[in-house]
Amino acid sequence: MGEISQENAPIYEALERLRKMRVVPFDVPGHKRGRGNPELARLLGEKCMSMDVNSMKPLDNLCHPVSVIRQAEELAAEAFKAANAFLMVGGTTSAVQAMALSVAKRGEKIILPRNVHRSVIGAMVLCGAVPVYVNPQCNDRLGIPLGMAVEDVKKAIEENPDAKAVLVNNPTYYGICSDIRTIAELAHQHGMYCLADEAHGTHFYFSDQLPISAMEAGADMAAVSMHKSGGSLTQSSLLLLGPNMSEGYVRQIINLTQTTSGSYLLLSSLDISRRNLALRGKETFEKVRSYAKYARAEINDIGGYYAFCRELINGDSVYDFDVTKLAVHTLDVGLAGIEVYDLLRDEYDIQIEFGDFGNFLAYLSIGDRKQDIERLVSALAEISRRFGKEKVDLMPQEYVDPQVAVSPQEAFYAEKETVELGDAPGRISGEFVMCYPPGIPILAPGERVTQEIREHIEYAREKGCTLTGAEDLEIRRLNVLKGV
């Protein structure tokens, strides 16, 4: 095959070769290149169906890659400056799970900020690890959680010298970065791993104008959502390893839960997206950066809205800021972020990423166009003109240290009973409660319910946030541990 380079896309090329061979399929999938499911073929296109094939010798095998998938993974590792890379087909959730399962066993501790994605705590339910939460500082005006202060991480490490790893969001959903380089050094000094949730940070690897990437900062593992800012298909993702990890062991961990029928649509989308980013990522994200800068200036010019940016940087809990995240504070227009989110969709046919109490986030990426940004800005101007009210204040949210009474795994599998939300304070939660998006838990299994948490849930419900995680979809009742 000769030398391969970032110009290649080995999986995609193997699929093309297979197509030309006109192989007669007597294997799965049973739709046989779409012929057995003409309605689906009409929807997705024949080409798409013909690429939905099974692992076979010319296409390698995701569970045990030796040829084209191996090459694609090596190219991905090179592009992201990692020691190893794994193509993931179970979403970034599967990459996050693999990180937690690779470093911690039952009863072992992981230090992490409270504003982690639900998948992190889900991973701890699976492996039995115990969370040690670090208070992410909060910006009181915006009402958003920030990053972890280095001093707070240090304190957590010193108080829990037996912890196995420190996990860092790089960045948070809102684009806020902790000092990941210093945190990685600290972790290593104490014999711990540094893990990075980079679900929102793929583009960091392809710009010198954006915050540092986890691999460059010396982290040991990073879960990278290629499908978010990287342009691959939904559900495809990458897991990156630093030089101190055992590739073989991590592969074993991944294979515990990963499908043995990895989708070649997802795999080829990762392959082609990696090639695109390696060859053109820098100029692409430069464009995204300039769009975000323009949109921010125009939105701030409307009046009332506050599209925040690098002025938040304080050298610690906001160590750096991802300028491609277009997060906008809305309370001065008299509207909650979630209300603006709904108005944009219902009145203007514009779908944005999420709205919380005080802010909304519009996701800018590789596929945006100038004229669509004009639409977003104009719609915001119209919303302010038509629906704007007196400035409203945010319910002040004191950060309350979550009281981890039992491990997430123990709580998840414990005997439970259901109680009215009003009766829940004092009890230990057996389930998650979160607003989705952004999917950051208000309550996780194993945590003691407090009065503040109850009020927070009620406020979120009243404001129209989509609450998820619990068995009762409206969270009027909660499952708590029986007898404690």
Partner: protein, 286 residues
């Protein structure tokens, strides 16, 4: 030699015009621009392969989009024209001496340059001292205007490509804000005939109806546009297009026209039953 320009009006329908020669072809930042010379329609302009105007039938479009509001509004001083880089709307507007200023907002400077060079019959009055051309996205320009114009004419391309933003609710809402308390907005409203065009037409009507208290639609026959049956929107804060028609005053001006008359003005608002129905379908419905 057989040399034809063809436009796919739908996936299954084509309109072809015999061409003598191609006068210009170029790419701007926004679109492909072509000018042809033809025996039947004279010179014609296409953007991304879609017919914009021909010398033979452009008068219908430009007269109907301009004189209808001008015969209703009693005193137009300040006009905003969006799109219309070919200059046809401006050519009609400058015939009214009471108009003191025309802001023309065209996203694509190259369209104006090409039209000035190859289509002097429409672009002839762009140098009028009352006209100021702004090369900008219309949606962006209007965001900053408030209570400023008596008349806004939206001479957009189709609702895909660069003209997409000019069919949205945020755009029409911004137009409402940019108009004075008795202002009028007139817009290119697509065709009701073929399915895709009819959907665009409905969407535009829904968006306008939600932004303006008075929103009516009128028609004209434009041979080189898909189906030949074309609609315009008349949206207004105060004046009704028929009840407030100033028939005598307009005729006293003695403006010579080839398509528009004040009698046709009245007739143009009476629509075929199926068009009335498709418009009614989206009124007050969201």
């Amino acid at each position: 030699m057989d040399f034809w320009f063809s436009e796919k009006q739908t996936k299954n329908v084509k309109l072809s015009i015999r061409v003598d020669r191609q006068l210009y072809s170029g790419h701007s930042d926004f679109q492909r621009i072509d000018v042809f010379e033809s025996p039947e329609f004279g010179r014609f302009l296409t953007l991304d392969g879609y017919m914009m105007l021909t010398e033979k039938d452009e008068f219908i479009y430009h007269e109907m989009i301009t004189h209808i509001p001008m015969a209703v509004h009693p005193h137009v001083e300040k006009v905003l024209v969006i799109g219309a880089g070919d200059g046809g709307v401006v050519r009609e507007l400058v015939r009214y001496p009471e108009i003191r200023r025309i802001d023309l907002v065209e996203i694509d400077e190259m369209v104006v340059e090409v039209c000035k060079k190859y289509l002097p019959k429409t672009a002839c009055r762009l140098e009028d001292e009352r006209v100021e051309i702004h090369y900008e996205d219309g949606l962006k320009f209007i965001r900053r205007c408030k209570d400023e114009y008596d008349l806004i004419i939206v001479d957009s391309t189709d609702p895909f490509g660069p003209g997409e933003g000019l069919f949205t609710r945020e755009f029409y809402g911004n137009c409402y804000k940019a108009l004075k308390e008795d202002g009028i907005m007139v817009n290119q409203h697509e065709s009701p005939f073929y399915e895709e065009d009819a959907l665009a037409c409905q969407r535009a009507h829904r968006n306008i109806t939600e932004s303006f208290p008075i929103s009516r639609v009128y028609q004209a026959h434009i041979p080189t546009y898909p189906s030949g049956h074309w609609l315009f929107g008349f949206a207004s804060k105060k004046y009704h297009p028929l009840r407030n028609l100033r028939e005598k005053e307009w005729n006293d001006r003695g403006i010579a026209t080839r398509y528009y008359t004040t009698t046709l003005h009245k007739g143009a608002f009476y629509l075929p039953a199926y068009v009335e129905e498709l418009l009614k379908d989206v009124e007050n419905k969201r």
